[in-house]
């Protein structure tokens, strides 16, 4: 029983990281119909940036994290939106999907060819060791991940629901034209979404890289999981991404322990396929009307 509980808790911790990446994914979709196939690389780049600031500039991890947040907002938020999304969004979803696919390949190979093809170790933001409560043990890293991810999610939800800016962003997500008529600066709200996505990716990088290691293709796996999570939970619901992320993390852990480590991904993948086929709007999502 204690084993099962431990597996579930560490699954939720891993799932929380997927949820962060998935959250950014759904926010971009809601605000601007952007399906970002480079979401995994958006986690990989900050991992390398933080390592660069730590090793080359000799900064402590927290300072490297804050600095990377700023760089990421400029690079993965502002520049990504201006250079890639803005010119392409008029043409519809597909060209943008292809362009982000190109971005994913380009960035990955650039890091592989220009930086390193090897996996680099990354400092753990949390202390090593296990917290033991009788039979039940949980690692400090899992606790720290849950706390940090939980704080980010609650902070984001509060921002979206309680502040004027956050509510304006939701209005843009729900109905862009109506929001514009009401005098909301749509462009700015969409830009905020891109900045938030960049910061979420940096946090995900901080939490995931100590175990995944910094490698050019580390984004493949996390990008895919974020994608599953967003679809399972519901593409057009922020809460959906959270549920989806946690479900994927927990299912992975349980499958790995009880069914077969080789099929670790399998059950989450099956859930993903079942959701697409039986409930395409996702577990928590709302069905979208067909637009003529």
């Amino acid at each position: 029983m204690a084993d099962l509980l431990q597996l579930i808790i560490s699954g939720i911790a891993t799932g929380a990281i997927y949820a962060l990446a998935a959250l950014g994914f759904t926010l971009l979709w809601q605000a601007s119909n952007t399906i970002n196939f480079a979401q995994g690389e958006f986690v990989m780049i900050p991992a390398f940036l933080m390592l660069f600031f730590i090793t080359t500039a000799g900064l402590p991890l927290w300072a490297a994290f804050l600095l990377t947040c700023i760089v990421a907002m400029l690079l993965l938020g502002l520049t990504f939106k201006r250079v890639i999304v803005d010119p392409l969004i008029r043409h519809g979803v597909i060209p943008l999907v292809i362009a982000t696919l190109g971005l994913s390949i380009g960035v990955k190979q650039l890091v592989k060819a220009g930086v390193t093809a090897q996996a680099l170790p990354f400092p753990n933001p949390f202390p090593d060791g296990l917290l033991a409560l009788g039979d039940f043990k949980v690692s400090y890293a899992d606790i720290g991940t849950l706390l940090l991810a939980g704080m980010i999610v609650i902070g984001l939800q509060t921002f979206l629901n309680r502040t004027v800016t956050g509510r304006a962003m939701q209005a843009v997500a729900q109905n862009t034209d109506a929001a514009r008529v009401l005098g909301i600066n749509v462009r700015r709200m969409v830009l905020y979404t891109f900045l938030i996505n960049a910061v979420l990716a940096v946090v995900a990088a901080l939490l995931v890289t100590p175990t995944y290691l910094a490698k050019f293709d580390m984004g493949d796996s996390i990008g895919l999981k974020a994608f599953y999570a967003a679809i399972i939970g519901g593409f057009n619901q922020t809460r959906g991404a959270l549920l989806g992320g946690v479900l994927v993390g927990v299912l992975e852990n349980l499958t790995g322990a009880y069914i077969s480590p080789a099929y670790k991904e399998g059950v989450a993948l099956l859930l993903f396929l079942v959701v697409i086929i039986l409930r395409p709007e996702g577990l928590l999502g709302k069905a979208e009307e067909r637009k003529v």
């Binding site: 890639i84 010119p87 392409l88 043409h91 979803v93 597909i94 060209p95 943008l96 999907v97 292809i98 362009a99 696919l101 190109g102 971005l103 994913s104 390949i105 380009g106 960035v107 990955k108 190979q109 650039l110 592989k112 060819a113 220009g114 093809a117 493949d220 895919l224 994608f227 599953y228 679809i231 077969s260 080789a262 099929y263 991904e265 399998g266 993948l269 099956l270 993903f272 396929l273 697409i276 086929i277 039986l278 395409p280 003529v292």
Partner: protein, 312 residues
């Protein structure tokens, strides 16, 4: 104009047929690989370019075809000529089974379903060692013979694959010219209007998807016979993405788009070996630039010039 085009096409086909005579075995191998790859990519163009659906799982069908050939030919000694139609039929049926539920609900969900399917197929190939050989793959897959004439050599197998891909292209071309094929264009350009004129969108799209999958299955069987060895890495999700990009780069919905795209994806990296990993880095960023300035693919340049000339 029309006849000039046909002459150009025949000349290009003839050059491609003669070229291997002057190449070493690796060059012949690459030219054969392009033919085999094209079978799958022609099929994908039917799905993406004509039926207007995103499929991110073409390599899964390519792999299913290859593993059917590998298992039946290498392990059980069954003839290529039985395996080939079997691979096509199984991929067609699996395509129907995957596409039917995915297309019934909402159209762009086919992209997501094929993505998941590809990852799942990859896991099965890697983990079911008893059947697929796991990461070790299946080796010693024999090459077929035709009317008692062995196709073991590099050149005979090249001509066999080359003739096959041309035949496949002709079938697809005929299909697209038929009234049945013309419904595709209507579908892609304005699905709602096509539906209102009596085209059953779901049935047509589903059929296109299944035929595209069958083409990949055929290509997979040829691939197994070409390289004699298959392993899961050849059918990873990233291979599907490259196939999709090959269609888009060349110009989706253009009959010869896949040819140009496949050359860029398969042959150019070999010629530009000195660039190593930089090739894909450049390719990735070039893709973004292309989507901004030339979203119709490289073959749409010609149209650009034509319309520019027409307005003068």
């Amino acid at each position: 104009m029309k006849s000039a085009r046909i002459i150009g096409l025949v000349a290009a086909l003839a050059v491609y047929a003669i070229l291997p005579q002057f190449l070493k075995s690796y060059g012949v191998y690459l030219m054969t690989l392009l033919c085999v790859y094209l079978m799958a990519v022609f099929g994908l163009n039917l799905i993406v370019g004509y039926a207007g659906q995103m499929s991110i799982g073409q390599a899964a069908f390519y792999g299913i075809g290859a593993y059917i050939a590998g298992i039946l030919m290498a392990k059980m000694g069954i003839s290529f000529w039985i395996v080939l139609p079997l691979a096509a039929i199984i991929c067609f049926v699996v395509g129907l089974a995957l596409g039917f539920p995915a297309l019934r609900v909402q159209h762009h969900y086919l992209a997501f379903a094929t993505l998941g399917f590809n990852v799942l197929v990859f896991l099965v190939m890697r983990n079911e060692e008893a059947l697929t050989g796991g990461t070790f793959g299946i080796s010693n897959i024999p090459r077929p013979s035709l009317f008692g004439y062995s196709l073991d050599g590099a050149l005979p197998f090249f001509y066999f694959s080359y003739a096959s891909v041309i035949l496949l292209a002709l079938v697809l071309w005929w299909l697209l010219r038929s009234p049945w094929g013309r419904a595709f264009a209507a579908l892609r350009d304005n699905p709602i209007r096509a539906e209102s004129t009596g085209v059953n969108i779901t049935a047509y799209t589903l059929l296109a998807f299944a035929i595209g999958a069958a083409c990949a299955g055929i290509g997979g069987a040829y691939l197994a016979a070409l390289v004699n060895f298959i392993e899961p890495g050849q059918f990873h999700l990233s291979v599907s993405l490259m196939m999709l990009l090959a269609v888009i780069v060349g110009g989706s919905g253009r009959f010869f788009g896949p040819v140009l795209g496949s050359v860029i994806v398969i042959l150019l990296p070999e010629w530009l070996r000195f660039l190593q990993d930089w090739y894909l880095a450049i390719f990735g960023f070039a893709l973004i630039v292309m989507m901004v300035f030339l979203p119709g693919g490289l073959l749409s340049i010609a149209d650009r010039f034509k319309s520019a000339g027409g307005t003068k």
